[in-house]
Amino acid sequence: MDGFVSLLHGFSVALTPMNLLWSVVGVTLGTAIGVLPGLGPALTIALLLPITFQVEPAAAFILFAGIYFGAMFGGSTTSILINTPGESATIVTAVEGHKMARAGRGGPALATAAIGSFVAGTIGVVGITVLAPVIVKWALMFSPADYFALMVLAFVTVSAVLGSSIIRGLTALALGLLIGLIGVDLQTGQARFTFGQMSLLDGIDVVIVCVGLFAVGETLHLATRYRRGKDEIIPIKGSLWMNGQDWARSWKPWLRGAAVGFPIGAMPAGGAEIPTFLSYFMEKRLSKHPEEFGKGAIEGVAGPEAANNASAAGVFVPLLTLGLPTSATAAIMLSAFQSYGINPGPQLLTTQPDLVWGLIASLYIGNVMLLVLNLPLVGLWVQILKIPMPYLYAGILVFATIGTYGISRSVFDLGLLYGIGILGFIMRRYDFPTSPVVIGMILGPFAEQQFRRAMTISQGDMSVFVTRPIAATLLALAALAILLPLVVELRRSLRARRAV
């Protein structure tokens, strides 16, 4: 209960009118940069670091927390409405969310994303307050071999987004794996698939691939199908608000998403993308309406959105308890701590309780603020869909271009964006799913690095994957996820044959 007393104290630090104002500024700014593809919270906070020379630590961190959660929310808004994930963690949201929007149900999709983010964020903050020390101990037990097993499980879940044709889905996945290999290999320092291009040494930014495939590719595809005069505006069907059935189908995915997202977010190499894949897969398996997946299932928005926000909260566990930054945004926050002369580490909680609990309280305030600001705006956001297609898609291209150029100010990246856009167009034209490309690109290098780390540490002994309990359990789960549907199918067909 000690944690809650401290949390209350944290609220007393964070809840001053001035700090609430900082929170509003942060959340608004965050939502705006989340909407722009390419501009992430890490970059924005980095550019705002000089502010730490001017204001109180609590105010700065409240601002940063607002930006962080605001960007997450902004990213899902564009994923749902215009199929352009502003963040790699909202790719899965685009899969179902955009289908919902195109079916005229953009309002409920945005609402379930907003409320799900709030619910999961809240669970995450409670998790930080109560579970932080336990979670950290558990997260540190993960060795590279265990991470590799987790990746195997994640790869299995990819099948949920492969679409109707397995061959096309696997082709797209392989393409993603290939793109993921480009750049200097971390373990040996050797360049792979860079063709002597300096600009390719750091690999291709996942955001550029997302924006290229989803925004540019989709826009080109729609442009080729556009017939003058026959402008179809997506009508908004039914209520803007979630109906009873939406609620009934959303609340479990919110909770499950949070349960997956928070612990994985707290793991030093967990990331925000993997829990969203896992959650999507889980919801597809558990849903009473699996046939709706791929056509706009609300569970497919609610679960991953909750997972994404819970993992964002989870990232603070290793940051505050061990001083371990596990995401780009956390790393920048760490340097913000340092500019106040504070070195986050195991003693942070005892030496700087005001700051730590103020920050945790401000995460909570940021969540509430987002809900308050965004729910009334859902009606406004969905109006975007009423913009006639030529203007809307021209606008998307402009934003995609500005966003991409804004990250690196590199003309090369712009060329890359449009090259990938054309690839996306061809894929779309011939009915290849595009999300497996991005998923392959994220999971592939991750799995490869963990595998090689595990092999270096064990000196090439493959048995580490079965002798370590965590790895063995995760691999067994993955095997189960593949075999179980096959067994069920086999039984059904046997029974059907017997009936004949």
Binding site: I45, P50, S143, Q187, M198, P268, L322, S335, G345, T456
Partner: protein
Amino acid sequence: MDRRQFMMTTGALGLMAGMPRLAAAQEIDDLEIFVPAAPGGGWDQTARVMDQVLRAEGLIGSSRITNVGGAGGTIGLPQFINQYSGEGNALMTGGMVMVGAIITNNSAVNLSMVTPIARLTGEYLVVVVPAASDIQSLKDLVAMLKADPGSVSWAGGSAGGSDHMLAGLIAQAAEVDPLAVSYVAFAGGGEAMAALLGNQVTCGVSGWGEFSEQVAAGNLRAIAISAPERVDGIDAPTIREQGLDVELLNWRAVFAPPEISDEDRTALVDLLTKMDASEAWQAALADRAWDRLFLAGDEFAAYLEEDTARIRGVLQGLGLAG
């Protein structure tokens, strides 16, 4: 872009409100600072702290920071050389890692093409083991390394970076083939630390700043530091006093563009010498636990040349340079 302008204006307004400006003492009206890395990293922080201090001390009027990140600075360097050539009011941040990246990436341009101004800060690397480890000193580690090089796993940053270099140098000095070292590269600071705290690897190498809190908390044990002699406030014996002739400094410095006039060069060296002497700079260094390692002008140029040759040697040993 709107956002950028917005940031710059808020930043600038904040500064104007908070700090008195002493126009009379300005050395340079308008300073361009070029950072060959993305916002947030070490070189970027160096640039931003420099910018704050120079303005607070009234040594410059206005300034602009440009970030062009990627590939250990080798994307930004050619741009700096091309775009700022001959301009006496531009500075680029960089460091030891960039020297390594230029060699391993076979970059067409290198640091001999720009004008070295001053080395500002640096960090010595430390070797740590998990608290539960049997290894008590570098001697124990070296004994293990000699018995079976593959059995010692080292956690650190990307291959070819400063952490890897130190592992290679220690192996070389211990007469073990650096290529036989089991080096496990992690991206970013957090992951390598997690592997150490979770007891997944034998030892870890990184800057002292990364490890200091965990060493203070008793979770890690520092067994060696790559400094020439013991450093105040760091309870770790040097590598040298444990019998191996190895030292390594991960330095950060500033460079001016090629083909600037001698007056401009002298003015920039003066500017940074004044900055280094200021209390604001020293306070900022103390906040960030950066070591003050100021070395300016010709001395720095000579040091750069010497260090480049040495780094090339290490990377050749690791099989990363031709």
